[in-house]
């Protein structure tokens, strides 16, 4: 049975409040917080980027389970903010965890769902027997143009999932995807910030694809929302996942543990994966989890997971071996907009 062998998360410690960003742009913070349901977002340190976050997340995954890194035959890093246009982040991660050189690696881009696409690729390689374990990472230092609506939510963070067959902590029963050519959000090569179609990102983008993949999966395996203990959806803000959950018949309780966006922001490729990690942090053996990611452009990957006894088998798996999502969200250091601008490299420094 293919499934999750271990997972790890990393979130930078810095936060900026929506009120602080709104102050700079003369916007009404109450309106923004009311509309988005987001109150603060994570900010990377000066020297943190997608690669360092991916490495931290991968290392946290391996802290929880004793895995010979040489059994990891593939590393995929999904991101919208790879530090290099040419030179894979995945190689850095593979090297950092000791998985090189007998491994394949690649960076993946599919807006906010590149990480879950990596999980699917790893599943294929594991099921086919080509590799024993594969690591799929979603990591971003998300971009949002100054003053744009995205700036209030674009956050930093990542999650890493090791996919394999041997004693998974959660079995992946099934996955499917719903993909179309829909230009709701994009960043052209060489451009610094993404652009988006405003309200077009809603119904024709997020809602069509998330519902499309979710309903497709539930139809394929004859399940309904009531069959799951938890559900996780891509969370660009708090409004969209709450609404789509309701449309699909999931309750507020089912999505609660995985809805991390209000105090984290949108970590793009990390978003639904950190939501899944937060849910696994509190899950018990037997719990069934429904996950649907979303990437603009556009597509959604849906997953049906079942938590196994292995998650509580302390000989094999140490749940407290690395920080939980809750741990990582605790005790933040708040920065003002000037520090935020420095951390995000918006000042041109003299050599």
């Amino acid at each position: 049975m293919v499934g999750i062998i271990t997972y790890g998360v990393y979130i930078p410690r810095f936060r900026i409040r929506v009120t602080e960003i709104a102050r700079v742009w003369g916007a009404n913070a109450e309106d923004i917080m009311g509309g988005l349901g987001v109150y603060e977002k994570s900010v990377p340190d000066l020297d943190e980027d997608t690669a360092t976050i991916a490495v931290e997340a991968a290392r946290n995954a391996l802290k929880k389970r004793r895995i010979n890194p040489q059994t990891i035959g593939a590393v995929y890093v999904g991101s919208e903010s790879h530090p290099y246009a040419v030179k894979p982040t995945a190689c850095t991660v593979g090297e950092a965890i000791g998985a090189t050189p007998a491994m394949t690696a690649a960076d993946i881009e599919f807006a906010c769902k590149a990480g879950t696409a990596g999980i699917q690729i790893c599943m294929g390689l594991v099921i086919s027997g080509i590799i024993e374990n594969g690591l799929a990472v979603g990591s971003d230092v998300s971009q949002g143009a100054p003053g744009d609506a995205l700036e209030y939510t674009a956050a930093a963070g990542g999650a890493a999932f090791l996919i394999g067959r041997e004693d998974p902590i959660a079995i992946i029963n099934r996955t499917c995807s719903f993909t179309t050519d829909t230009p709701d959000f994009w960043r052209r090569s060489g451009e610094e910030y993404p652009r988006h179609g405003g309200r077009f990102t809603g119904d024709p983008g997020y809602f069509r694809h998330v519902q499309g993949a979710a309903r497709m999966l539930m139809e394929q395996i004859s399940t309904s929302a009531q069959d799951y203990d938890y559900a996780v959806f891509h969370q660009p803000n708090a409004k969209f996942p709450r609404k789509v959950a309701q449309l699909l018949g999931f309750s507020a309780e089912q999505i609660k543990p995985g809805l991390v966006v209000p105090h984290l922001g949108n970590t793009y490729s990390g978003s639904s994966m950190i939501g899944l990690a937060a849910t696994l942090d509190v899950a018990k053996p037997g719990d069934r989890i429904f996950v649907t990611s979303f990437g603009s452009g556009a597509g959604s990957d849906a997953f049906d997971l079942q938590v196994t006894d292995m998650i509580e088998c302390r000989d094999l798996y140490n749940r407290s071996g690395a920080p939980t999502v809750e741990d990582l969200l605790k005790d933040p250091i708040y920065v003002d907009y000037a520090q935020y601008a420095k951390h995000k490299g918006k000042f041109v420094m003299q050599a």
Partner: protein, 387 residues
């Protein structure tokens, strides 16, 4: 001059129509109007289409020929003319069609309006709409339409007894009507609290004081009244068609709280029709912002200056009040695809006069439409009556 009648009407649903192109919209509206008039495209003699800014909204000019072509009329070589007067483009297209039929130059004429506004960013849309104001003296100084209408509202509220709640009631009333209109963009009722707690756009106007960005198209078919019964049992007669202009910049007006072009065109329309205000059973006014409806009711002469707020609060302008205003939901709730709005107003009045307005049906024999371009630099008014 021949008497003119409306023999068929059609309208798309209004909203963010992501899956419909500009062409899809006008073809759908046109086909609905032809079906309503029991006509085939071959019988059309001329076409007038109101469109404000396809050049900027979808980078397409030469709309007249485009529409004739995609309506399948290219081989018939009919005259097809685009008419532009900003948000009054639709009303003006209808007026041009009337003159074509009344003069005897054409017999069966289509007047249509279409706008596809959601293909560009909201910022670009706001700027495109701002081109209906004076670009050199207003636009370049940063004025947008919410800003200009906010100045009207400020001036009005300083001089006349209009409360913030009364202004909100305009939106509440129009959403009530929109909730009974199957083509409306917003079919939800709202409360005064909804308006007062919505985001501030341009003080004192809040989000729910403003009409939305909308895709949509409407078409109506005109013919000489003398042959109208060949096509329909319920022709609607055009009783008056009036148009007036004013300064394009708001600051050049005699009085910024009174749209003199509305006053003038209104007087001309009543004179032409030989009617008074008491003869009008419903009026579709140009409520691009709630203050626009307040000014329109007064400037058309339905009450004296300063009274429209109280009339609105008292329910006089409500669906079953003494003077129903914007039974369609108006621009606020039905939506405002700028070039199509003037034709949609005709569509609504025709449905009401025919008794086909469903859940929002009122008793009506005569109805008026009031279509404004810019902040009142162009006003087009029509009066229609059941035969």
């Amino acid at each position: 001059m021949k008497d003119v009648a409306v023999i068929g009407v059609g309208c798309t649903t209004f909203g963010e129509k992501w899956n419909h192109s500009f062409r899809d919209l006008f073809i759908e509206a046109g086909a609905l109007a032809l079906e309503d008039a029991n006509l085939s495209g071959e019988q059309i003699d001329a076409l007038f289409v109101g469109n404000m800014s396809a050049g900027r909204f979808i980078e397409q000019e030469h709309i007249g020929a485009l529409i004739a072509d995609y309506a399948g009329l290219a081989t018939k070589h009919i005259p097809s003319t685009r008419v532009e007067a900003a948000c009054a483009s639709g009303g003006l297209a209808f007026r041009q069609a009337i003159t074509a039929v009344a003069s005897g130059m054409s017999t069966i004429v289509v007047a249509a309006g279409v706008e596809k506004m959601t293909d560009i960013t909201p910022g670009q849309t706001v700027d495109t709409l701002a081109s209906a104001a004076d670009r050199e003296w207003e636009g370049f100084m940063g004025a947008t339409f919410p800003g200009l209408y906010a100045m009207i509202a400020h001036d009005y509220m300083h001089r006349y007894p209009l409360t913030r709640e009364q202004l909100a009631q305009v939106a509440v009333k129009n959403h009530f009507n929109g909730a009974r209109n199957p083509i409306a963009q917003f079919q939800q009722e709202i409360s005064i609290e909804t308006v007062l707690s919505s985001s501030l756009v341009a003080d004192p106007l809040r989000l729910f004081d403003c009409s939305p960005i909308t895709d949509g198209a409407a078409a109506v078919i005109l013919a000489p009244l003398e042959i109208a019964k060949q096509f329909t049992d319920t022709p609607i007669k055009v009783l008056a068609s009036a148009q007036a202009s004013d300064t394009i910049a708001l600051h050049d007006r005699r009085d910024i709280s009174t749209l003199d072009a509305t006053v003038e065109a209104g007087k001309r329309a009543f004179h032409q029709a030989g009617l008074t205000h008491r003869d009008i059973d419903l009026v579709e006014v140009h409520d691009c912002f709630t203050i626009g409806e307040i000014c329109a009711i007064e400037d058309l002469g339905f009450c004296t200056k300063g009274e429209a707020g109280q009339l609105t609060e008292d329910g006089v302008t409500a669906l079953h009040g003494d003077l129903p205003v914007n039974t369609s939901g108006g621009l606020k709730a039905c939506g405002h695809p700028v070039g199509a709005t003037g034709i949609k107003q005709i569509y609504e009045v025709v449905l009401q006069l025919r008794g086909e307005a469903g859940k929002r049906q009122i008793e009506a024999e005569r109805g008026m439409t009031h279509n404004v371009g810019g902040t009142g630099a162009t006003v087009v008014i029509h009066i229609l009556g059941a035969c």
